[in-house]
Amino acid sequence: GESVGLHLPTLSVQEGDNSIINCAYSNSASDYFIWYKQESGKGPQFIIDIRSNMDKRQGQRVTVLLNKTVKHLSLQIAATQPGDSAVYFCAGPVGSSNTGKLIFGQGTTLQVKP
């Protein structure tokens, strides 16, 4: 079946450094991908998304890169801050769905060291 997966379960970075969280997917038909941030005891919060006709999208301190050739996307966080500590999920649509019916990766826990 289709899958979305993250490469590392845990990533530890120094405050101020850049963070890169990677994700692989299997569904070539996926039209878009989303990154979510989940803090302890809270629901996931939307960070940024990217459509399949784009290679790169930038937000505030975050950049998502999409490589359709190798079915890989990454989330880059610039100048990582303690408030960035959370679990990060990548997600993509189930099958050819164009809804919020998503398949999620297992998450990468980002730990920011002061």
Partner: protein, 115 residues
């Protein structure tokens, strides 16, 4: 309200009991989703409501699980004859419409523990 509201935030029940989890979506959001998150795992899709259309129940793990959405607003997820493997956080999300371009806003979840 300003966000998606879920209740109860925590529920401890005995194996075999029925439980009901409630979701109050953002006003005006026509799409509503239920997901399940087991400990240390990603989210697993359960069910999706869009307006007055028949719900997409393709993610429900067994016939012990059911959900309804009354008046296009509040939704209730019911788990009958709970089992220990049902222990998880149940998350509700809503969005303006069905398109994947619409951002999902999640509630804080209902943590279910089945003893």
């Amino acid at each position: 309200g300003a966000g998606v509201s879920q209740s109860p935030s925590n529920k401890v029940t005995e194996k075999g009991k029925d439980v009901e989890l409630r979701c109050d979506p953002i006003s005006g959001h026509t799409a509503l989703y239920w997901y399940r998150q087991s400990l240390g795992q990603g989210l697993e899709f359960l069910i999706y409501f869009q307006g007055n259309s028949a719900p997409d129940k393709s993610g429900l793990p067994s016939d012990r699980f059911s959900a309804e959405r009354t008046g296009g607003s509040v939704s209730t997820l019911t788990i009958q004859r709970t089992q220990q493997e049902d222990s998880a956080v149940y998350l509700c999300a809503s969005s303006l419409g069905p398109s994947g371009a619409n951002v999902l806003t999640f509630g804080a979840g209902s943590r279910l523990t089945v003893l």
